[in-house]
Amino acid sequence: MFFIKKIFLFFKRELKLFFRNIVSIFSNILFFFLSIFIFVFALGADEQNLKSIGLGIIWSLLVLSSTLSLRKFYEEDFNNGVLVIIHMRGISYELIVFLKILSHFLFVQVPFLISIPVASLLFNLPIYEVYNLIFTFIIGSLILSCLSSMSASMNLLNKANFSIGGIIVLLFSVPVIIFSVGINEVDSDFKSLINILIGMALIFLGISPWASAAFIKLALRNK
């Protein structure tokens, strides 16, 4: 009972902090639309063309914007010691990581969901593609949150090179993208691809709390 209350409190804090930084969310979404416009202009508005690449653009922008928020993941709470205080109140680092991943998913990735229907409109995507997109997006962005968590915790240990975390996120998101975009190809087997994606998400959800927590503990030791 107390434990659930603690978790609830954790989310409440994240939510509040999120609303303090609502600007950066907006600027992420703005960046998103801006890039779409850029592509449309660069390509010239050939309708058929646009339709075929709309999905790809949305996905790659999603991936890039997750690397955007990498530093926000743990850095502040780690530097001012909040992570330790929370841990000392009985929440293991693994759980903290898990909660952080969830709140990153909820407060950073999901707001993107809102922009997808609008973006799809811009590209005249057929309705079933939009459904697919939203569906794969939910799973894919969960995977991305896990990846971000791992890279962000890795960055805590390394005080010199911040892009390496982003690079690793990008590298591992290659297969995610291939599968997610592949789902909308005409001749692809929707169900098995979705299953692969869900499988990946579960694996990452299983691995990343342990990996991230290990990095965080090590980083605390070297702090």
Binding site: L157, N158, N161, I164, I167, I168, V174, F215, L218
Partner: protein, 230 residues
């Protein structure tokens, strides 16, 4: 007997014995290979450009081989906590990166006259480009962490995960239809390539491997020394 493959001091002894003969052998084979390449026939379609093959194919094979070696050593390093394997990984990664780079550049140079473009986004080429990125990330990872233990473990795990890319490179020509040549030399059954081209190719491959091996030995020795003095 094969202790030198996992034990630093044994490796040092073995390397001291073998290094000089190896250098000699390597120079002989390299010169022989270059002569054979010079004498090899021109392709009736491709003309002189076919000689790029004698750089391209060996470096491609060695890029793959180097990564495979790193994968094996990473497994050993993680499973048996063998520090020597991390030394090898660190020493060998830049060599593999260079081979990959040579493969990419020579392939590009070859592609321009043959395919009419420097670059196409097909499965073979892309997966090799990703191999280069993976090599670079491995090198960078080694320079980002201050903590030695973390550095070695993370790198090893990363190498393992990255090894997924190897079969993709190897079988990309079979799985997807691409512009790139399917395996003709390295087919298990019978190589479908003229003997006059096969000979210099094999000799050049051996020469390339020996060059890689010599550099690797030197780098490993240096790394062992650095660690001893710390």
């Amino acid at each position: 007997m094969f202790g030198f493959l996992i034990n630093p001091s044994k490796f040092n002894k073995f390397a001291d014995i073998i290094l000089k003969p190896l250098i000699l052998l390597c120079s002989v084979i390299l010169i022989a290979g270059l002569i054979l390449v010079y004498l090899s026939p021109l392709d009736y379609q491709q003309g002189l450009t076919v000689k790029i093959m004698y750089i391209h194919v060996p470096s491609a094979w060695l890029a793959l081989l180097t990564y495979s070696i790193m994968t094996i050593y990473s497994v050993i390093g993680i499973a048996f906590k063998m520090p020597f394997s991390f030394i090898v990984n660190k020493a060998v990664a830049p060599i593999g990166a260079v081979f990959t780079l040579i493969c990419l550049i020579s392939g590009s140079l070859w592609g321009k006259p043959i395919w009419g473009t420097w670059w196409v986004w097909d499965a073979r080429l892309t997966s090799v480009a990703i191999l280069l990125l993976i090599y670079l990330i491995i090198i960078f990872l080694d320079k980002t962490f201050e903590n030695k233990e973390v550095r070695e473990k993370t790198t090893a795990i990363f190498i393992l995960i990255g090894s997924v890319n190897l079969p993709i490179i190897k079988f990309s020509v079979d799985w997807w239809n691409t512009l790139h040549q399917p395996a003709s030399v390295s087919k298990l059954s019978s190589p479908s390539i003229d003997i006059s081209m096969l000979q210099p190719l094999l000799v050049m491959t051996i020469a390339f491997s020996l060059i890689g091996l010599i550099i690797a030995i030197l780098r490993i020795k240096a790394e062992i020394l650095i660690r001893k003095n710390r």
